[in-house]
Symmetry: C3
Subunit: 662 residues, 3 copies
């Protein structure tokens, strides 16, 4: 039985290098403290160079080398990209765009997720690999495919059409029910045979919104089916080996709430966006969402980068210390593995400018020195593994609402789902309290505050749960366009007031979106943009009202005492400060406290606590520009020294204090 540890490593693609490099790799892995590498992700064409001809010698050698070096393998089933022979034999398995054009080989994932012939060949190579490496001493876990659906989730070909119809038959049972759900009486679209139904290919004007939504539901499910089939086969052959696949939670196309239960451990990829000035907060959001997907359990950061990536328009290199800080942020929010893409920077191919653990500059480099430093820190932190976080606030995140809210036929193109999600999350982050990102199936009763940014689709069940939670004393914050439509995108009986109508205490009569760039003044002297609506108070109080714009005097923010609880409603796109003020009030009303008192801590100090059988660990990360002084007692596992009373944390630095009991 091994001691708990934080996994540390990267994607390892030895097939890109001569064997002479492999020995250097193993030595450097040991130097850095690497204990797990993902192998074989893009190796299908190397392992099955022609259909039915296999060549495992090189992978045998790699696996044996890893075992000898004491590095474990997160072994891929190699199905991420089919070999050129596959596409040449089965051109109908290429993905199709909504305009009917094909996507061709040359990059990766050039297959239709619903293609039966792709699935057949993927299972064949999966079986070969599983049977060969079953029982290999280096085999620690299975890595199914790679970022499934990242490039090909939405395929409009005839095979997808057939699979879509089957999925719809399952969902609706009858055409009559589908016609009702899709509202086909509008624009005369009633279907009389299943065969008439197609993916939402390019149209003359706005397509049917429910068809669009169902196609996204289907597509997420079609991608998940790939995972399920390959996982089932792996489980059959190696029942003792855990199985996962790397999710990209900030990605639009896949509803990971339905994926999460299928993974033995949640594994995610996360990359900073160059143009986001609050990248460290966005990182926290994705980490909290990953923990939410894991149901609170530890999760794996399967990929991030040591420095710049290569796929953004401008790829910003990480500043000194940033990579270590990013890594500890993930651990602070529940990650028990810190992995990178990739081990050694490629000399060729489309990602040769993506940073790696071993950069083009070699070991005499900022990157390598920080990799070694991080390895040491994570090694000291092994005891943190398996500990968990507590949160009193739940923020609801919903892929279906994201899909549906941004439909082209809506009142304003400026309403963007992530905009309000990130705004509310950021305001919570700045209060210092710990947030859990949850699905709309959440039971709110385990929290004190539930935050609901633009949950456009809400069924009666979630609305009931929220209403009961609030009437029993919970707090809630809701923004515009929440609960507006049911699962079929129908506007319900309360009109535009939506499913949360009862606990909001307001009636929404009509939407008044703003013009591009238009701002309206509020009576608290802030400015709002994008969205306003004609709100009538029905029990709630107006906290803020419009001073000008289309609706002077009308409430912009309301507060309603409903039963024992309180609900805040934001009827407009408030600016950062006002969102912050409302959230601060809600947090205070709900009686939620951060892990440590934040009064004297400067802005930008991130604090979380993980605890479990091994103890309690205070994570402190200083994103600000001033030194932070924090009361703490225990041992700082980063600096590897005792902390007695006050810990002073320089800008950019992190501490992980094993807290002394008492």
């Amino acid at each position: 039985m091994k001691a708990p540890r934080i996994r540390f490593g990267a994607d390892y693609n030895p097939e890109q290098w001569d064997r002479t490099v492999w020995a250097q790799d193993f030595a450097l892995m040991n130097e850095a403290g690497v204990n797990l590498v993902s192998v074989g992700i893009f190796s299908w064409a190397e392992l099955e160079p022609c259909t039915g001809e296999y060549r495992f010698d090189w992978l045998d050698e790699v696996m044996d080398g890893l075992a000898a070096a004491g590095v474990m393998a997160n072994l891929a089933n190699a199905t991420a990209n089919p070999p050129p022979w596959f596409s040449a034999c089965y051109p109908d398995a290429l993905p199709m765009l909504s305009d009917g054009s094909r996507l061709w080989p040359g990059a990766r994932q050039a297959f239709c997720p619903s293609s039966p012939v792709y699935r057949k060949h993927a299972l064949r190579i999966t079986r070969k690999i599983a049977e060969r490496y079953s029982g290999h001493p280096a085999l620690e876990m299975w890595h199914v495919s790679n970022e499934i659906g990242n490039h090909n989730a939405l395929c409009y070909c005839d095979a997808s059409a057939a699979a879509f119809r089957t999925w719809l038959e399952d969902r609706y049972g009858s055409l009559e029910e589908l016609n009702r759900a899709w509202g086909t009486t509008f624009w005369g679209q009633r279907y009389s045979e299943w065969e008439q139904i197609l993916p939402p290919r390019q149209t003359t004007s706005f397509g049917n919104p429910t068809q669009d939504l169902d196609f996204r539901r289907f597509s997420s499910e079609a991608c998940l089916e790939i995972y399920r089939a390959e996982r089932d086969l792996l489980r059959e052959i190696t029942p003792e080996i855990p199985i996962t696949t790397n999710l990209t939670p900030n990605h639009l196309e896949l509803d990971y709430w339905s994926w999460a239960p299928e993974l033995d451990t949640i594994a995610v990829d996360h990359y900073l966006k160059a143009n986001d000035p609050d990248g460290h907060i966005e990182l926290s959001f994705v980490a909290d969402l990953s923990r939410g997907l894991a149901g609170g359990a530890p999760w794996m950061l399967m990929e991030h980068s040591t420095s710049a990536v290569n796929w953004q328009p401008r790829n910003i290199a990480k500043r000194p210390g940033e990579m270590v800080r990013n890594s500890l942020q993930h651990v602070a929010r529940g990650a028990d593995a810190i992995m990178f893409f990739q081990w050694r920077a490629s000399r060729f191919g489309a990602e040769k400018y993506h940073s790696a653990m071993v950069p083009h500059a070699g070991t005499d480099s900022k990157i390598w020195r920080e990799v070694v430093e991080l390895g040491e820190v994570l090694d000291r932190m092994g005891e943190v593994a398996n500990t968990t976080l507590d949160a009193d606030v739940a923020l609801v995140f919903d892929w279906e609402s994201w899909w549906a809210l941004e439909a082209r036929s809506h009142p304003s193109a400026d309403v963007r789902y992530l905009d309000r999600v990130h705004a509310l999350y950021r305001a919570l982050w700045e209060t210092g309290i710990t947030v859990e990102v949850v699905s709309q199936n959440v039971d709110p009763s385990g929290y004190r505050l539930i935050v609901i940014p633009s949950l456009y689709i809400a069924d009666a069940e979630i609305a009931d749960r929220v209403n009961q939670f609030v009437s029993a004393g919970g707090c809630a914050v809701v923004t515009y366009l929440s609960g507006t439509v049911d699962e079929n995108l129908h506007i319900g009986a309360p009109g535009l007031s939506g499913a949360f109508h009862d606990s909001l205490g307001v009636r929404v009569e009509e939407y008044f979106p703003l013009r591009e760039g238009e701002e309206v003044a509020l009576d608290d002297d802030s400015l709002a943009a994008v969205w306003t609506e004609m709100v009538h108070l029905e029990g709630a109080d107006a906290l803020v009202t419009y001073k000008d714009g289309p609706l002077p005097g009308v409430p912009a923010v309301t507060r309603y005492r409903y039963g024992e609880g309180t609900v805040w409603y934001m009827a407009t796109r408030l600016d950062r400060e006002t969102v912050g003020r409302v959230l601060k009030e809600a947090v205070k009303t709900a009686g939620i406290k951060p892990p440590i008192p934040m009064v004297t801590a400067p802005s930008g100090l991130e604090v979380t606590r993980r605890s479990g059988e091994s103890g309690s660990y205070l994570f402190l990360i200083n994103h600000g520009t001033d030194t932070a002084h924090v009361r703490a007692e225990g041992r700082d596992l980063v600096a590897d020294r005792d902390v007695g009373g006050t810990l002073s944390l320089l800008p950019g630095r992190a501490a992980v204090v094993r807290e002394e009991s008492g």
Copy 2:
């Protein structure tokens, strides 16, 4: 024989609702004073759910209910969107874009306008409906299809290619004549067989401009053919029922001058653009164009909106009073029907956020209260029906010039047809005089002033008419790029001076377009942009010249005394004030007066007069921010009270005064 009345109503789509809602609909229609609804526009799939199987029970019930409620039906022949079974059976009838990709079902109008099989099926359902409802007491008029060609006017498929060839054979008689007209000696494009001719699909570089123009002519005609065929069939079955279709006059693709004579009454749809600060003037333009299409006769506003639409990037709700004001503007300019899309806001589909007469909020709403108010006003104004307007100025509007002027191979991409049309119209609007928008086939002799914005294509005939009109004492205002080319887009003998050369009194040697964002100063201290040209005076006087830019000292605006008349020529894109000044001078020179003296009226007061056998009606609409005080005597049909001497009109309000004779 019924008393004259203004028709009032909406598109009515009862198939989207349970029967229980229908009874409420009829009651509310009566409450609002609705007297006409358009029924069945998108009902093909409901009426013929499978090919050749019909289901009329629900429509029977609706028609009977309307008749019982005293509401008449503008009954559609339901061909606006073919049912899914049609597209599934005949995929070749789907429209094709110029890149060869198809447009698929899911929205509406997913058919090629030239498709023979579409036309066959459309006539079959038309016959069924016409035969069934011939003689029905609710049937008042026929609504053929819906916004024909709005989404599918330009189809590049092989069926369109075949129809295009037939159209070209009709137009040119011989290939030799086509080769001459298209100038196929340029770039070596001579055709030797008709079969070689294609629609202007995507090309390596600029396509043949005359091919492009002829394809637009053909496409407008192909859409009109749809109307003609369905109309002929309806006329055959119900010769006593008037027939129309709803035009969208601000739409690029269709040349409604050739459509207008085919309609029993002109019906148009008009929606405000959210980003137009002069939306009320653009509305006036479309209304005057609609009256022009109707040859001066009353016309129907078949669709507008009670508040926001849903298909613009940001959909702006109407402010209190705006919907009534918009409606009266249309009546003020000749509309005898005020109809909306749609009666009851949809709960689902792509337009559920489009406003309606019965909004999602129900009757306790701004919209419903204004609908009822408007119904009362229009009811009082019944006597205005069938009266007409007089105008002394004609503004020439020409779809072919619009199509041709904005070709990609032209001197400047910044030259936009509507830009000058709207600029000249706006200047006239601000003088308070009434304008008629006319085609280039106009006989100018009925007017005192003819305004010709960038009439790029002009044949010798229109040029002759204008020259004779001016030499006989008429006034004309002409802007750059008028008469530059003949109907085949050939530059004629006078070079760039164009067809109006004789009456302009200038010679144009060379174009000097300006750079993006560049402005040149004029000697009246205004700024011009986009376009300048080397003008030589040949009889005209320079009113304004350039102070800088490429042509310092060269005339920018000229005035020519030609025969007994006067012609102003604008050789550059003047700013708003300068256009206004020139037009004011032209109006004054032509001796044209507004319906009432405007001296003391504040800016933004719109005044028109309709008159006829029933009397004379002064329309006053205050778009300004100050109260307007106007001399008037009679009865204000809006406020329902007598006006004696001076009428004070608050900002945003309208009056319609039945003028006392004397």
Copy 3:
């Protein structure tokens, strides 16, 4: 044996005009001094109106008329655009875009460059024309096709795929070698059969960069194959007639370094870009590049414009004198022919707004008067023909680096190849010295300074030549991303320091691209943008360092004394002034002098010297706003008068002084 002369003329397209115009044409050509016209470029459809039916009567008449008028013909083989019958018979020969859609007839060059059937038909018409006009007295030279590949260079169809595979087999010999070069181990792309290889059609993500590069190499070669085949046939029939085709050197798709040796004389087209404030410098660059392609020999300006073109978004007319000035700039840099597109402005077609020698306004026009003036000047300058220029500095220009540097998967989308090429060229232009633009195969030993802007791909050979050149005392200026990859785009052993590592004296550890619009301050108070990198000095001195940004204190510009020579390295995108300062220092260090001392000459004076057996000619062109005073002795061939001591040149004017010896 004729006296040397500057050729003067235009594309002549008489087929667009009635025969009655032809006689006027010949008379006007004589009036203007035209001595050469390009005939028949787009005449295929006129000469072969149906497949295999020929009609040469009109061209016979034109050729005879030219001969009678003493105007020589640069006769085209008419293959620039196949007739409509060709595309109708062989639709598979239409070009295909990367999305699989076709480009259709209607413009020009609507054929796949690799199409065997196109090539067959092109050779058939070539043979017909060559046989017919072999020995005709007007025939001076052959004009093969027209701007080959300008619109269709990149075709992704199956015929292109087949030709691409053949080209790859030639290049690599074995699939194994191709797999190695393309790095197909990355993303699992190993090919096991040649048939699996495709053009880089649209993909899910970034395609294989080496596949992209090889496809560009192949496509340039495929277009050149068209030229070679037609030239070989013409040479066979008329071995005594020189053959050329008109290149567009500022064009991305074709690598003219491989084309140049195949042309009997280099002929180029050049058009000013409306939005380039330094158009006269860009013109100089293209002229110096043209001379570079000609290996220093005289070349022909086959097309430019008398005034505006028609294919830019805004087409700027030339100011008085500009056309003469442009023409003399080309002669000043080695052109022995000044030709225009086109002789007479078209009345129809896609280029009717393109200026011509005979404009729409006729001969009473600025354009015609300047054409006549230019004809006189060029006639007096006949003796300049066959003289050449000397240059001490070589600027390396490389199409392959251009193709490869701007790949989508790179660190920054803001790195643009022409940006640095033009910046360095402009700095040299402003020092007044004469530059030769050369390929990376240049032998630097003939120069004193070699300037290397972002030569992304560099093999060991060029790096060795540069290193030896510098160590032997030469000077070099190198900018970032030079020599980064080998011909297969693999990053080599020195990591990011690249192939020029030895002579740069710096090591590059990591790239730090900047954000959009971001600027960093340098310690010389200038600002840099787009690009920075972590540079370590390894022998070089830091001339300028960063004051802020991601790398404060790190060198931005270095200078290295390597052997006897000196190398400057620019590690960031310096602003105009700083580039100028560094280049001035390099020019001074290298000991290079302009043709005449420039001390008192105002900014904007362009000076070159052509010399040869006939004498030495000083070209002076004043682009500035002040009169220039220059020491010169001899006869000014422009003004046709003697210059004794000082020549004063007004702004916008040019002089060509035949220098007196001594």
